[in-house]
């Protein structure tokens, strides 16, 4: 690889500091906790604002314009409103589960954030099974949705939850299948090493054809996993009023909402990390002068830009496409994405064995 990037994670630094001074170790842990909470809150609000503005401009509107210049404090105002709203628990609901469900959703999102390498130095934990870990914890989010739908004791919620369950579990398969392509090419499951392996070119184009196919499959499958249009069946507004979170209000609704939007970021970050080089600047193997220009932008900015691009793409989908039907959703997964994913994985394996990719090193 020889890229010369030094990667350290917060976990590593905490571990390093721990033997020296317990206080410093605890400091790093606290930094991680506070940082993560703030990060999630700000990120969620920024994404919601961005979504509203992007949606508005796709639709020839202006979006929020009143609170602050161009409405930038609108989401802050909304958040405050949601925090102070009454938290209604339906009388016949399963109270404990109803109260707990949003935390499950939120938890899955937060756990996924832990492993994301946002820059060489900003990564909470760099596990050697990073890809597997992310797949595992994002799948955990469905539990919150299922519990929410079940505990609300509302038929619409239940329908939404059942849709979510079927959908998320099905699409995990395809998502994993396309992740494996990158794992094959980079030879590692550790996210930081996957990023480093893309120093000479991102896997989306360096892995010939299979990279693009894997990226498209990953994008589609992840959209389904986070229930974004065109796969927003669990909450399909025109069908199920609000799906699994019909009965939620106030803070708990806000948590579902936040989880949804941060999930979008997680998916974008994953797509960035795996296919678009993560925090790695745009490099073309061997063209050093060009690479030097690209290096002027810090890695963190590269990561943010790439993630923002994918987030924009996801929003763009949402504000263009209609929603699929339940059976079409399943058909798309099992009859289209999965076979293509398998063939793609096989092709990727062949490519790796014979070294058929651009800029082999």
């Amino acid at each position: 690889m020889g890229s010369g990037w030094e990667t350290t994670t917060l976990a590593e630094r905490a571990a390093e500091a721990m033997p020296g001074s317990l206080l410093a170790g605890a400091g790093y842990v606290l930094l991680a906790v506070v940082g993560a909470s703030l990060f999630v809150a700000v990120l969620g609000m920024a994404l919601i604002y961005a979504e509203r503005k992007v949606a508005a401009h796709f639709q020839c509107r202006l979006g929020p314009m009143r609170v602050g210049p161009h409405g930038i404090f609108q989401t802050v105002a909304d958040t405050i409103k949601l925090l102070f709203k009454e938290d209604i628990v339906p009388a016949q609901s399963d109270r404990v589960l109803h109260l707990a469900a949003p935390f499950f959703s939120m938890m899955a999102t937060l756990l996924a954030l832990v492993a994301l390498p946002m820059s060489p130095i900003v990564q909470v934990a760099d596990m050697n099974i990073g890809v597997l870990y992310i797949t595992a914890v994002t799948g955990f989010g469905v539990l919150g949705v299922l519990l929410a739908g079940w505990s609300s004791n509302n038929k619409w919620s239940l329908l939404g939850a059942m849709r979510a369950g079927a959908q998320i579990i099905s699409y995990e398969v395809s998502a994993t299948m396309s992740l494996l392509v990158v794992v094959l090419f980079s030879g590692s499951m550790q996210l930081s090493r996957i990023v480093e392996s893309q120093a000479d070119g991102w896997w989306i184009w360096r892995a010939p054809v299979v990279g693009v196919v894997a990226f498209v499959i990953f994008l589609i499958a992840s959209l389904a996993e986070i229930s974004r249009t065109p796969f927003d069946l669990p909450e399909g507004e025109s069908e199920l009023t609000a799906g699994f979170h019909t009965e939620y209000s106030g803070l708990r609704f806000a948590m579902f909402f936040l989880a949804e939007f941060v999930n979008m970021f997680v998916v974008s970050a994953m797509a960035t990390t795996l296919f678009l080089g993560g925090w790695m600047p745009f490099h073309i193997g061997g063209v050093e002068s060009f690479n030097a220009v690209m290096d002027l932008l810090p890695p963190g900015a590269w990561f943010a830009l790439k993630s923002a691009a994918v987030v924009f793409l996801i929003m763009w989908f949402r504000w263009t496409f209609p929603r699929l039907r339940v059976d079409q959703l399943m058909k798309l997964e099992w009859k289209v994405l999965l076979p293509i994913g398998f063939v793609n994985l096989f092709a990727a394996a062949t490519a790796v064995v014979f070294g058929w990719y651009f800029f082999p090193f």
């Binding site: 639709q59 509107r61 038929k155 069908e239 209609p322 929603r323 699929l324 059976d327």
Partner: protein, 380 residues
């Protein structure tokens, strides 16, 4: 109690079984387009039965009509199918003119045809947007409304109202056309033709939308006729029944236009018929807008309470949703003895009970939307 427990155990022992359940879709539901309530019998996501429950916006228009003069009754029809208020006005005006023998001139008929066709386009634009929204695409909704706004502005300039127009009166129209009307309509046509292509790209050619519409909710021709469906719903089933052609009123007899019909009667056909109707309406307007005949716009003094000779008159017009009929029973006074309105939506709605079973909840939403329901028109 123990009996129930044992049967449940037996069921679980035999393997998983499903249970049908009822769920209320509406009166407050985003896809019932108003306060319509559908009681659904579901098995999982599959719709087993649909029972529409009506009357949430029943206002007793027919009873009110028995106390109002004919001219006063016109404004109540605005509030039935508010998206084709002008066509509804026209139906009453036509009935009264027919019954009382009021002659109209060429200009009045041309103006009526023009505004009614404009409103048909506006209505279909709104439907298109809402249909997109029901399929889960929010953007068409706003595009549809954006373009509808142009027509609303044109009509507002002439009529002075945006939704409940009360424009077409027995014996004429309330105001003459605004001097800017012709220019603005031409501008609108030039503006809207490319936009219609965008509609097609955004929704008609979209693979997801096509998959959602293809073969969904097939209403066969014989069934549609027996269910009294009219308008685009009937035409999409392949029955070329269009009052504008079969018994031309206004100046429809003098303009050229085609009647789009469907081949199978699924949601796609209903969708396509409406989109094509927009094109045909544009064609009609283009033919009429150039030379609107001169003449007076109102031939009956507004303060006169028209007396209608004794008898029954049934007159109907083709609104954006189907046949709007007025059955006018007069006993020779200046108020109707009985006035019955045959609203297209009341008759179209029941198609849902025949086409929905066996499809999923999501398809039900598509089907309701493809029937283009306006609830106040159902409930009257």
């Amino acid at each position: 109690m123990s009996a129930i427990v044992t049967t449940l155990e037996q069921r679980i022992g035999r393997g998983a079984t499903t249970q049908e359940f009822f769920v209320n879709m509406g009166p407050q539901h985003p896809s019932t387009h108003g306060v319509l309530r559908l009681v659904l019998k579901l098995e999982g996501e599959t719709v087993k039965d649909v029972i529409p429950v009506l009357g949430y916006v029943h206002r007793g228009v027919e009873k009110m009509g028995e106390h109002l003069s004919y001219r006063q009754f016109v404004h109540l029809t605005d509030r039935l199918d508010y998206l084709s208020a002008l066509a509804n006005n026209w139906a009453v005006a036509k009935a009264v003119e027919k019954a009382a023998g009021i002659e109209t001139n060429e200009r009045i008929e041309t103006i009526r045809t023009l505004v009614a066709e404009l409103q048909r386009i506006a209505s279909h634009q709104l439907w298109w947007g809402v249909f997109g929204m029901d399929l889960g695409a929010f953007t068409p909704f706003l595009y549809g409304f954006r373009d509808r706004e142009r027509i609303t502005d044109i009509l507002e300039e002439t009529i002075g109202a945006r939704l409940t127009m009360n424009y077409i009166q027995p014996g004429g129209v309330m105001f003459d056309l605004h001097p800017d009307f012709q220019r603005k309509v031409k501008e609108f046509i030039a503006y809207f033709r490319p936009k219609l292509e965008e509609y097609e790209t955004l929704l008609s050619r979209n693979i997801i939308a096509q998959e959602r519409m293809r073969g969904v909710g097939v209403l066969e021709a014989a069934q549609a006729v027996a269910l009294g469906a009219t308008g685009p719903v009937l035409r999409a089933s392949g029955v070329a029944h269009d009052l504008r052609k079969s018994e031309p009123y206004g100046v429809y007899g003098k303009v050229e236009f085609d009647v789009p019909v469907g081949a199978r009667g699924d949601c796609w056909d209903r969708y396509w018929v409406r989109i094509e109707e927009i094109r045909q309406s544009l064609r009609i307007i283009e033919q009429l807008i150039e030379n609107i005949p001169e003449g007076k716009h109102l031939l009956v003094k507004p303060a006169v309470r028209t007396k209608v000779p004794e008898g029954i008159t049934y007159s109907q017009v083709e609104t954006a949703r189907g046949v709007f009929g007025v059955l006018l029973v007069s006993d020779g006074k200046d108020v109707p003895y009985r006035i019955h309105v045959r609203t297209p939506n009341f008759n179209n709605l029941w198609a849902i009970t025949r086409i929905a079973p066996g499809w999923r909840v999501a398809d039900l939403v598509t089907m309701i939307s493809s029937l283009d329901i306006v609830v106040p028109d159902i409930d009257r």
